[in-house]
Structures are given as structure tokens and as C-alpha cells.
């Protein structure tokens, strides 16, 4: 593999946890709920998925456990913000604090443990015949592990769900104008709960990819701020699952560029390159907010609790 292809392949790997978390947050925000607990839910998924993977050696069970853990975190957020109408920003922060503590607590005995071989084997790169022969991109995109393919699939399915199915269009209505959606007898509470929980499950998957496949061993605070980058990526992707694919791999590339530049002739301090994803996130947010267009606007009901009596 030449330098470009291997760099792109590594960018896709590094972007996969971001992709799952971004998709999760897109679905959550489409329901009108701004959940800043992404980092916390990722960590909850990362630690529970890793622990179950370690105990059972079964990759499917590990993934399911991670999804469950992520959605339990989301459930706390859902009860607070949907049923009890608490402030969404602070509730999300609380979830991140809780999730960080939770993962450090559960993960205390896991430090230094490595992903079991059975799971490593399950997630080894598989070439897709035909597609993998596309020049440059083929090897980067289609000679990857099953988890990454699951990422492509999830993004595409969510995109179709959101724009092409009745339920997806209902969801958009709930996020844009819950009052009108309610009048059209859409069950607002059910839609919100279902999608906030689904969002949490996807964040959990993003987390477990880090601990089980990316590292692949347990280390404390394995997400290292990726959950927050995912929150920014949602804005970058303009709440569109297809655009999330591009954004996640772009940021995945930035995540690894510092490492890749070591040993080349380019001399920049590692610490400055490490700042890159954060600087670019800020730049992206500023640029998006500067050219405010209707198409890239957030759901109108985002962050506002819905209360039928106050309609």
C-alpha cells in the first residue's frame, strides 16, 4: 500500500468511533434533544462492552452490551429532559460527568487488560472482492474490519430512514415543530424517548470500538474528548447522516496526522499537531455560523422542552 492509501485507511479507522457517536447525536438532535452527554455515553459503552467482551469472548454480545450501556445513559437524560423538562445543556453535562466516573469505576480492574483473541480475530480486516480493487480508495474503504462496514451501513440506513420513510419524516417534524407534530397525532414523547435511546446506543457502539478494536485494550478515559468532537461534527454534517460519513473520516484523518508526520521531514511539535482537531472544530463552527443558511440550520425545536399544556 502506498502512503496515501495507508493514510486514508487509518483515517477511516480513526473516524469510525466519531461516525457512530455523530450518527447517534444526529438522531438525538433530530428529536429536538441536545444531548451533550455523548462523551459519557461513549465511555459507558466502552467499558461495559469491553468487560462483557473480556468475560464472554463474544463480539456480538460485547456490542449489544455497549449499546445497552449507552442507551441506559441516554435513558437518564431522557427522563430528565423529556419527562421532567430539565435544562438539556446541564443534563448532558451531568451525564458526561456521571459516565466518566462510571467508566473509571468499572474500568478500575480492567486497566492493562487486552482484547481477547477471539474478538480480535472477528474484527480483522476483510477485503470486499471487486470494490477493494478501486484505485487508492478501494483498499482504504473496503479492506477494513466488520465494525467499520457496520458504520457505513448504519449511516446509510439512518439516512434512508430519516429522509425516505414515514417514521423518519415524522421524526423531522418532531424536531422542527413538536406542536404541529402533536396536532398531527404523532406521539411526541414516544418519538423522543425512542430516538434519544437509539442515539445513546450508537454512542455506546462508538465507545466500544475504541476500547475493543482501536486500542485494543482498556485504558482510562479512552475517548479523550472524541465525544465532544462528535457534537461539533453534527453541526458540520448539518444533521445529515450521509454528510456525517465524510465529516467523521475527515476528522479521523486529523486525529492521526500528527502520528503519521513523525519520522518525516516535517518538523512541528507533536503538541501543536494534537491541537489540530480542536482548532479545526472551532474553525468549522465559526464558518458554519457565519454563513447561516436555512439548509444547514439546526432543528427548530432543538433544546426546547415540549410541554403540551404550554403550546
Amino acid at each position: 500500500m502506498d502512503f496515501m492509501t495507508s493514510f486514508l485507511a487509518a483515517a477511516v479507522v480513526a473516524g469510525t468511533p466519531l461516525l457512530f457517536a455523530t450518527l447517534g447525536e444526529i438522531i438525538t438532535e433530530r428529536a429536538g434533544n441536545l444531548n451533550l452527554g455523548v462523551e459519557g455515553m461513549m465511555l459507558m459503552g466502552a467499558v461495559i462492552g469491553f468487560k462483557i467482551g473480556l468475560i464472554t469472548g463474544n463480539p456480538i454480545l460485547a456490542l449489544l452490551a455497549a449499546m445497552f450501556a449507552g442507551s441506559m445513559g441516554a435513558l437518564i437524560f431522557a427522563v430528565l429532559t423529556i419527562s421532567l423538562r430539565a435544562n438539556q445543556v446541564v443534563s448532558g453535562l451531568a451525564l458526561t460527568i456521571f459516565g466518566t466516573g462510571f467508566s473509571a469505576f468499572i474500568g478500575k480492574d480492567l486497566v492493562g487488560q487486552v482484547t481477547p483473541n477471539a474478538i480480535k480475530l472477528f474484527f480483522k480486516p476483510l477485503e470486499i472482492p471487486g470494490l477493494a480493487n478501486i484505485p487508492i480508495l478501494g483498499k482504504a474503504l473496503f479492506s477494513q474490519d466488520l465494525f467499520i462496514y457496520l458504520g457505513y451501513l448504519t449511516a446509510i440506513i439512518l439516512g434512508i430512514y430519516l429522509y425516505k420513510t414515514r417514521k423518519g419524516l415524522n421524526l423531522i417534524a418532531v424536531g422542527e415543530n413538536p406542536g404541529a407534530a402533536d396536532a398531527a397525532s404523532i406521539n411526541i414523547t414516544l418519538y423522543k424517548y425512542a430516538h434519544v435511546l437509539l442515539g445513546g446506543a450508537l454512542c455506546g457502539l462508538g465507545g466500544v470500538y475504541l476500547s475493543l478494536v482501536y486500542v485494543p485494550a482498556w485504558q482510562e478515559n479512552v475517548t479523550a474528548g472524541r465525544g465532544w468532537i462528535a457534537v461539533a461534527l453534527v453541526i458540520f454534517a448539518a444533521w445529515n447522516p450521509f454528510k456525517a460519513l465524510v465529516g467523521a473520516y475527515l476528522f479521523g484523518g486529523m486525529d492521526i496526522i500528527g502520528f503519521r508526520l513523525q519520522g518525516t521531514s516535517i518538523q512541528i511539535s507533536q503538541y501543536f499537531i494534537d491541537m489540530l482537531p480542536y482548532l479545526v472544530t472551532i474553525a468549522v463552527l465559526v464558518v458554519v455560523s457565519m454563513r447561516k443558511s436555512k439548509k444547514n440550520a439546526p432543528p427548530k425545536g432543538l433544546g426546547v422542552p415540549y410541554f403540551r399544556e404550554e403550546r
Binding site: F98, F105, F272, S289
Partner: protein
Amino acid sequence: MLYKVVKRSEITQGKSFGIRTAAIILALLTSAVFIMILNLNPLEVYASLIKGAFGSNYRIKQTIITAIPLVITSLGIAIAFKMKFWNIGGEGQIMMGAFAASFFALRYPDLPKPILLSLMMIAGMVAGGLWALIPAFFKAQWETNETIITLMMNYIAIKWVTYLQYGPWRDKGALGFPKIPNFSDNAILPNFLGIHIGWIFALILIIVVYIFMKHSKLGYEIAVLGESENTARYAGINVKRTIIIALLISGGLCGLAGMIQASAVSNTLNVEVSGGVGFTAIITTWLASLSAPFILLASILFAALIQGGSFIQTAFGIPAAAAMILEGMILFFVLGSEFFIKYKLTKNGSAKSAAGKGEI
């Protein structure tokens, strides 16, 4: 539905305080269940928590030292939150405040103590304020989401201090250990009654911020802007100017906390100088419902949790992260309890709701 939710017309401060206290107690009870699952006696654990925080003169001092940066940072965050500007960049603002103060401490170690300390304090406040000014400017200019920007700037500040610690500021005499040289005596805050004088600053700032928020024109403008930007515009308030000045103050206070931590606690600059204070202060600020006097209470409570938390770690082998879970739990319950401050449940079929809303 048997019950329906009705908006409360008003609630006394005492009742609202009572609901919050009940929420904290419920959080402690729920956590007790988890402690029991761990096969430990929750009463013993809580007793040791209290002992770890207040059990001796030394521990009380440690708890107060932990509370000082929490109080000052919370005051800063409260000013931003009052405006519904979600400044979660306290951590970075503390870092940059500590960095700027350290610059003077390391560069002019022989200046007379009062001059050097004043310089460090001003530098810390200016640097923290400027670090908060960046997201404030974007917010004022283009309504850029401040939550994520303030957070991203935390990471940038941490990387910056790491760079200094491992690179240009590294102590060459430290035998390869990556640390920045210790400050001279002139750069270290003096003690008063056994604790560094940061506690006096904290108490004075509580009063100052209280008066500022309740009785100054700018404080009033911040509160109006927090309620509704449109109202603020109609009232002739310069929205951009208010956002910028409020955040300069907010970040400035966080920067001061950074200066105090670097000078009095770590006696140098390092990546641990903020130690999560920027995040914990978000909880204490919310717990205190953004009110300066209650910030003192909430900060002491959380300082006790942190000190007690590290004590139970050694006493019971419970990871220190347990304290973080407890913090999260308390915040969950307080957030949930606010529903009962804003609304009340009434039986269906009873007289018309207090807020005067009819059936729908």
C-alpha cells in the same frame, strides 16, 4: 390521566431550597443502594467520607483549600450562565490564567513580593478573560455555539501547557523529570490563619459578585439578556457589548482561580493545575441556582466530597471515581427536582389550575 401537571405561580425561596435539599438526600440514598451492591456498609462509607473531609484540623484545612478555586470559578461561571451563555471552558480559562501568572513568576522571581503577586494576579485575570473572550466574540458576532468552542479551548489550553512543561519551560535541573521549575518564595501567596489568603479573596468575591449581579446595571442587563434576547434589545441593551464584558469577567475570575492554584497550591505550573475544577464548578454553580451566597455552600459540599472521596479510596479501596459518580448523581437529582419547583401535580377534576390555564 389521574394527575396533571400545572405550572406553579410562585414558590418561596425556603420551599425551593427544601426541594433541592431533598433531592441531594435522595441522591445520597440512591448511591447508598449502589454502595450496598458493592458489599459495603453505606453508613460506614458516608461516615468516613465526612471524617475524611472534616475529621481533623488538617483535613478541614484541606477541604477549605479545595473549596477556594471552586468558589471563585463557580462565581465566574454563574455570571456566564445567568446570561444563558454555557461557558464550560472554565478548565481552559484556569489553565491560561495559571500560565500567564507563571510567566511573571518565572521571569521576574526577584521582584518584591507585593508587586510580583499583583502582577501575577492581573496577568491571570487578563489571560483567563481573553481566553473566554474568543468564544464570546464569535457568539456575539455570529451566534456561534459557545458550548463546544469553550470546551475545545480547554483541550487547546491543556496541550499548550503540556508543550511548555515538556518543551521550552522544562526544568533542566529536574534530572529528566518533565516539570516546570518551582516558583520563588516571592511568587507564593502568603498564609493567613493557616490557610493561603485565597480564602479571603473567595469570600470578598462572593460579596462583590452578589452586589454586581443584584444591584449593578450590567448585572441587571446580563439577567435580562439571559431571560430573552428580544426583551434585552427592546430595552435598549447593547447585546454584543454585554456578552463580551460578561465573559471577560467570567473568564477573568476563572483565570484568577488558576493564578491562586499555581501560586499557592502547586507552587509551579503543570497540566494538573486545573484538576477538573472547571467542570466541578459547573455542578456547584447549578446546585446553587447561580446565586453567589449559595455557591459557597455548594462549593464546600463538593470540596468535602472530593476530599472525603480520596479518603474512602484509601480506607475502603473504592476508586476515587466513585466521588464523580456521586457528583453526577447529585446533579441528576437536583435537575430532576427542578421540575417540582416549576410545576406541581394536581389531581384531575380539581379546581382550575393555579396558573389560570384552562383544559386543552
